[in-house]
């Protein structure tokens, strides 16, 4: 029951987002041809006569009435065709996949890291509440979590790239290194991933830590923890087996939401580290009014968010037996 409402909800949201990002750019000043024909502040002025302009509009299907465009766009999406990027001059899906793989790598690794670390530290902190380790963790994690990600990224570049020269300051790979083995390639990618991922981990870990800690504190007061203790179970066992599982319940959804939001939110880190990714792509798409790409990027980001929610729901159901048989 619950699930059907959810799914209708998702579909509705996707529809809203689709129409939103179809109509919004078209209602705003500027058109996608402006960059093709030279826009303010660009280096090469290109004067466009009416005839060429009309031809270009036809070429990109922008001369049709809005309703027709919308219909085509929806139809295209149903066929899995996201259109042709005007600025990048390539299929939107190819561009998106190219960028998404980096974003997912970045978001994936950092999410996995900050989640595991945040949850563990939160649990440990709550378990020793009031103790030295708790206070230390709380203050330090709240503090480092207060750094805006882009600022942290810049500091990292200065420290690790400029001063210590330990990690590369930009890019996702050493350009055209010609890897001799898969291992070499992987390590090069990880090498480049380190700073951006660390930035993301640090700027997100505080939130998860705090959520987990609060949730854990709630759980620790529960009677079943006492029961477990009454059975003579060891403390660490109780924490792991009895407390953490329960404490995770209320925070799965929050974590999923965060993960979803990170997909688009990595743009800051992508900008600082010149890391190829969806955020940057979206930013350019907005700048150049590249309607098809903008639509595609937004759709993908929304889909990822919805997928993250969906996964969270599934995980939630898996974690909470009370929901399993509905």
């Amino acid at each position: 029951m619950h699930r059907i409402t959810k799914i209708t909800g998702y579909v509705a949201i996707i529809l809203v987002v689709l129409s939103f990002n179809f109509f919004l750019p078209r209602l705003m000043p500027g058109d996608p041809l402006s960059f093709l024909t030279g826009a303010p502040g660009m280096d090469m002025p290109i004067v466009l006569d009416e005839e060429t302009r009309a031809k270009l509009l036809t070429y990109y299907g922008l001369d049709k009435p809005l309703s027709q465009q919308f219909y085509d766009y929806m139809l295209g999406i149903l066929h899995g065709d996201l259109g042709w990027s005007i600025y990048h001059n390539a299929p939107v899906s190819d561009i998106l996949i190219g960028a998404l793989k980096w974003t997912l790598l970045l978001v994936g690794t950092s999410t996995a890291l900050y989640m595991v670390l945040g949850i563990l530290l939160g649990a440990i902190s709550a378990w020793n509440r009031g103790g030295k380790s708790d206070v230390g963790l709380l203050v330090s994690l709240l503090s480092i979590g207060s750094f805006p990600p882009f600022f942290l990224g810049m500091l990292f570049i200065i420290l690790f790239s400029v001063k210590l020269n330990l990690f590369p300051a930009f890019g996702a790979q050493t350009p055209f290194m010609g890897y001799s083995s898969l291992l070499e390639e992987a390590s090069d990618i990880l090498y480049h991933l380190f700073l951006p991922a660390t930035t993301l981990v640090i700027s997100h870990i505080g939130g998860v830590y705090l959520l987990m800690r609060n949730s854990m504190l709630n759980v620790i007061g529960e009677d079943y923890i006492l029961t477990a203790r009454a059975k003579g179970m060891a403390e660490w066992y109780i924490m792991r087996k009895h407390a953490m599982k329960n404490a995770l319940l209320p925070i799965t959804t929050m974590i999923a939401l965060r993960t979803g939001f990170m997909i688009g939110g990595t743009i800051l880190v992508e900008t600082v580290f010149a890391y190829p990714g969806v955020g940057r792509l979206l930013f350019d798409a907005v700048t150049y009014r590249d309607y098809p790409l903008l639509q595609g990027a937004f759709l993908i980001i929304t889909l990822v968010i919805i997928a993250a929610n969906f996964v969270a729901d599934m995980v939630y159901v898996q974690l909470d037996p009370r929901l399993r048989h509905d």
Binding site: S34, G41, I95, P175
Partner: protein
């Protein structure tokens, strides 16, 4: 040992599109990357002289409508196929047919048809005489292989190994769109000789200065205010620097259809009110020059009109003009009122990147009594606003000012300033094949701009490339810009070794864009790219003084 040179541009992002003639993004760096793989009939050397390239020589008919090109023999496409006149004919036919697909299509309308005389001779027929033909068409249109493109119906969507087969000095090895990486290898068989480097790599970096110090790149260039970075390399061993002009101008576009900016006198008052020297000093830290009020860059000596008024900063004069127009400050609040009443106050629209300039102009005009509200918007929005004509003043900039063609619409990308005599003058210029006569007309055009002020130009930034000489030492800026005027140190001659390809003087049938005449204009002496080092202290002292003066003035106004 392989010689690899890595470079990154100054503009953000490294992806300039697929380097095929139909895939590159329509901005300078995109065309340049494409030009590594594809050649044109003519090309420009460091001095801006038109030199033979795929064509060894050419002749123009007297009416200026027919051009005969004698092609270089033995040129081969990257795939080994021979290059012939048929390819040239095919190229022009194909590009004309797919006019919207080739991004720089503006001039294609002049081509009527192309005839083949023999394997190595083609005749290009124009619809009307076109003075800048040698640069804007012959030196711009990349020649593509017929055997590959003849079956391609949508060139924009044609990518892959075949799409980048040209005759150029480099073959594209890899292109990574999302990371903005390009890799080329030298074309060993290149008809102008083997390039100096074996591999050329173009990257996208977050901070070029940093990448240069860390050794991630061997060359980059800085522009305008960012040229400040050069000071970090100027006396550093292992780095070389080379200064050049950027054929770029920042200008105020006026709305000539809206009161009060439709009044020429009013525009002049604003021109007097703006202190361009201060702009150059403060905003670009001296890495620029006050602009030619007639748009054309002063370095382009063959077209630049040096005798134009430059509206030197003069607040009194500005106020006088305004008073004469019945704008006066009646209520003593430091802001003038319209003759009809109401504060003289309007918006100045600009892009994020020019917000510092806008702020400065705002304060300068405040001294005159004009209240400016700065509105910063994104590129496409400003474009929309300019097209709608919904503005008073816009600050915007563009390149291409080495080429008289730019004078066609001085207020581009705006469109409110229409002047029939000016348009006629421009058309006449374009069809005048005689260099001197044309030059005169171009001078007149510039005068008209400087007099009527549809736009008021602000400054031309300087450019500097910083490089590691041990990798490559041949970088230069091309006078008048590469191709149709791209101000960049990446003329492909740089990679070939200038001397080898510099034409013997006798071979040069025509210099620059002065076609058809045997009397070549005296070659312009090569301006040694002098590393200009403005005395910082002086500048800063002046700046400080100016700032103080300005503040004192402002306080007074309050």
């Amino acid at each position: 040992d392989e010689k690899v040179v890595k470079f990154a541009g100054d503009l953000p992002g490294g992806d300039w599109g697929y380097p095929s003639p139909f895939g590159f993004y329509p901005r300078g760096p995109g065309y340049i990357r494409m030009s590594f793989g594809f050649d044109t009939l003519t090309w420009k050397d460091q001095n801006g002289t038109v030199i033979p390239w795929l064509a060894d020589s050419w002749e123009m008919s007297d009416d200026g409508k027919t051009w005969t090109f004698h092609l270089h023999e033995g040129v081969k496409w990257h795939d080994g196929e021979p290059f012939t006149a048929k390819d040239v004919q095919f190229t022009f036919d194909y590009i004309k047919k797919h006019k919207t697909s080739f991004k720089w299509f503006q001039t294609l309308g002049y081509i009527d048809h192309v005839d083949i005389v023999d394997d190595h001779t083609v005749v290009i027929h124009l619809t009307e005489p076109f003075a800048p033909f040698l640069v804007d068409i012959a030196g711009n249109v990349p020649i593509i292989p017929e055997h590959i493109w003849k079956d391609v119906s949508d060139p924009v969507k044609f990518v892959g190994d075949k799409a980048v087969i040209g005759t150029g000095p480099f073959k594209l090895l890899k292109y990574n769109k999302e990371q903005g990486y390009y890799e080329w290898e030298a074309n060993e068989e290149y008809f102008k000789g083997k390039p100096l480097v074996d591999k050329l790599i173009s990257l996208s970096v977050n901070d070029p200065a940093l990448a240069l110090t860390t050794g991630d790149i061997d060359e980059t260039s800085f522009w305008g205010r960012r040229a400040k970075a050069v000071s970090a390399f100027e006396n550093k061993s292992g780095f070389g620097t080379r200064w050049g002009p950027s054929y770029w101008v920042l200008k105020v576009i006026f709305n000539c259809e809206r009161y009060p900016t439709n009044l020429t006198a009013f525009r002049k008052a604003i021109a007097y009110g703006i202190n361009r020297t201060e702009l150059v000093e403060l905003v670009v830290h001296g890495y620029g020059i006050p602009a030619n009020t007639g748009l054309i860059h002063p370095d382009v000596t063959e077209w630049y009109n040096p005798d134009l008024p430059d509206y030197e900063h003069n607040v009194t004069k500005a106020i006088e003009i305004l008073n004469a127009l019945n704008f006066t400050d009646t209520d003593g609040d430091g802001i003038m009122e319209y003759p009809e009443g109401g504060d003289l106050e309007f918006n100045l629209i600009t892009l994020d990147k020019f917000s510092r300039e806008a702020e400065l102009i705002k304060s300068q005009l405040a001294a005159v009594g004009i209240k400016i509200n700065v509105k910063v918007m994104d590129m496409s929005t400003v474009d929309g606003i300019l097209k709608e004509g919904n503005f008073f003043m816009v600050i915007s900039g563009h390149g291409g000012i080495a080429n008289p063609n730019i004078l066609e619409k001085p207020d581009w990308p705006g469109g409110t300033c229409k002047n029939e005599t000016y348009t006629a003058l421009f058309k006449e210029q374009r069809e005048t094949m005689d260099y001197k006569a044309r030059k005169e007309l171009v001078f007149k055009l510039q005068e008209s701009i400087a007099e009527n002020l549809p736009v008021y130009t602000l400054y031309h930034p300087k450019m500097c490339c910083v490089y590691r000489p041990e990798k490559l030492d041949t970088w230069f800026f091309t006078k008048g810009g590469v191709g149709i005027g791209i101000p960049i140190e990446m003329n492909k001659l740089v990679f070939i070794g200038e001397e080898e390809v510099r034409p013997a003087p006798s071979l040069a049938p025509a210099a620059s864009a002065s076609p058809g005449t045997t009397s070549a204009p005296t070659p312009i002496p090569t301006p040694t790219p002098e590393p200009e080092q403005p005395g910082f202290d002086v500048i800063f002292a002046i700046t400080g003084l100016l700032a103080v003066a300005y503040l004192v003035l402002r306080r007074k106004n309050r």
